[in-house]
Each structure stands twice: as C-alpha cells, then as structure tokens.
Symmetry: C2
Subunit: 196 residues, 2 copies
C-alpha cells in the first residue's frame, strides 16, 4: 500500500499529538491515572486511531519516552571517549530527573512484570538499540587504542546504565556531574583504558 505525502503528514501530525497528550496527562495525573480515552480526547483523535497504532497506554508512553531519550542522549564522537560517555550519561540522568519523563519511565518499568508484550517492546525498541549504539561508541574508542582489545564492552554498558537505573527506581537520582564523571572514570578503569 502506498501512502500519499499528505496522508503521511496527517498521520505524523496525529502521532505527535497523541504522544504529546500522553506525556501531558502523565504530568497532570500520574502514570497510573492515564487512560487511552483521555489521551484520545486530549489529542483530538478517536480511541480506534490509537489502538490501530499501539496496543496499550504503556506502548504509547514507551514511544514518547524513546523519542525523547534518543534526542536527549546522542552518542557523540569527539574522539574523547571519557567526555563522550559523560555527555551521554548526563543526558539520560537529566531526562529522568524531570516530569514527565522520569515518572513516565518509572510507570513503564512498573508495567513490565505483568505485561510481557510491553517488556519485549521495551527491549526491542529502546534498550537493545541504545545498548548497541553504546557498544558501537566504545568499539570506536577500542579501534583507536583507547580501550584494550578483548574488553567486555556489553558489561561496560551495564555498569554505566546500571547505577542510573538503580538510582532512578530507588528515587535517589544522581544529582551532579561529578558523580557522573567518577562513574565513567571507574567504568573505563574497569576496562583497563589507558589513562584511567
């Protein structure tokens, strides 16, 4: 099926309105009180439109959060792996520190243990691609000799993200850039990166 440019534009406009409405409702009411009905009303679309694209409110908010996360946590490559990881982690910490994104992500995570489909979507749409990108950035540092060959890059990513998640779910968010810098330095040292 082909889609005309104007209908694609209309769809994209609806998609953005729906994601925006879902996030706004999350801020106003809290994740637990957001409903598909309310999202539809706020976005000016039918419930049917929403259900055509997403199976649940968790899926809507996952897409909204993923869009924001991708924007907030670019994998820059300035050539300085320490600086670039600090930039990346700081972006994630900052996004999680503010409504609607922090509470929205906490809400999404809280659904995972009883929503297998959402758990799979989260891994496929958000976690796995971000982990792959992080590994890619570490590998480019490895190619330049900044990280030794054979270093366990997937574990390094978990050691970076792990404390961010730990702090987020326990509501003890990381507060300052110094903590992030210390974390990044420790992870690079764990990989035996020269100079750390």
């Amino acid at each position: 099926m082909t889609t005309s440019p104007s209908s694609a534009r209309r769809s994209e406009r609806s998609r953005r309105a729906i994601l925006r409405a879902a996030l706004d409702l999350c801020t106003e009411r809290g994740y637990g009180h957001v409903t598909i009905e309310a999202i539809a009303a706020a976005a000016g679309v039918s419930k049917k439109t929403i259900y055509r694209w997403w199976p649940s409110k968790g899926a809507v908010l996952l897409e909204a959060f993923t869009d924001a996360l991708v924007d907030a946590t670019p994998f820059v490559d300035t050539g300085d792996i320490g600086a670039d990881l600090r930039t990346h982690v700081a972006g994630a910490v900052k996004l999680l520190s503010v409504p609607p994104f922090g509470p929205a992500y906490a809400g999404i995570l809280s659904e995972l243990h009883h929503d297998d489909r959402l758990a799979q979507q989260l891994r496929e749409q958000l976690v796995d691609p971000r982990v792959e990108e992080a590994i890619g950035r570490l590998r480019s540092a490895q190619d330049r000799g900044q990280i030794p060959p054979g270093a366990d890059l997937p574990l390094a990513v978990e050691m970076l993200y792990g404390p961010v998640y730990y702090r987020h779910v326990l509501r003890k968010p990381i507060q300052d850039g110094e903590t992030i810098a210390t974390l990044v330095a420790h992870v690079l040292r764990a990989l035996r990166a020269p100079g750390y």
Copy 2:
C-alpha cells in the same frame, strides 16, 4: 508498656503468618491483585491487626522481602573479598530470579514513584542498611590492603547492585555465575584492587 513473653510469641507468630500469606498471594495472583483483605483472611487475622503494624500492602511485602533478602545475602568474611562479593551478589540474583521474591520486589519498586512513604521505608529499612553492610565488608578488605585507601566504596556498591537492578527491572535477569564473577572482578579493578 511491657509485653509478656507469651504475647510477644503470639505477635511474632502473627507477624510471620501475615508475611507468609502476603508472599503466597503474590505468587498466586500477582502483586497488583494482592489486597490487605486477602492477606488478613489467609493469615487468619483481622485487617485491623495488619493496619496496626503496616500502613499498606507494599509495606507488608517490603518487610517480607527484606527478611528474605537478609537471609539470602549474608556478608560473609572469608578473607577473600572477590569470593565474598560473588557469594553476596549470587544470593541477591538467585532470590530475585524466583517467585514470590522477584515479582514481589518488582511490585514494590513499581509503587515507589507514587508512594513517598513506601519509598522512604524502602531506603531506610532495606537499601541503606544493606549498602552500609556492603561498605563495611569493602572497608575490612581495605584495612587488609586488598583495596587501596581512598577508593570510592559507596560508588563500588552501586556498580555492583546497579546491573542487578537494571537486569531485574528490564526482565533480563543475570543467568550464570560467570557473569557475576566478571562483574565483581570489574568492580574491584575499577577500585584498583591489587590482583584484579
């Protein structure tokens, strides 16, 4: 007020029956469908008895989970800091891998973002004491020269627990002892522990 030995025994028996009932219901129904009413009925006590001791079902399950966690994750001191951390982390991973404890803890974590009191209780009753114990075990290794003076021990604890939480909330649990051993070795290396 003094408590007679026999009434203290009765209270302890009721406390254990309530915690056991809460965990059993969690396995049967899932965290979201556990109610104080059902816990009271299953434990053979009144709702009033439960509310006298706990403000919410989350608080009941937090106490049940904390009891189990303390039993499952002792801080042994064999003199080998690497082995002892592996034992400790393996205990936590194993506890989280099975019902009722894994799903119960996921349920508790999911309540934190809209229950300030439970969040505070979790930090005060579970997280802070366990972190202090972990720091204590690292400090005793430091006293023996196994970890350099000035190492950031609180960060080390977050680097150990972080990936465990990350994996738990994303439902990608750590599956094997080798992963735990690699994580522990990386954390000790990050602290510049000799031999790692």
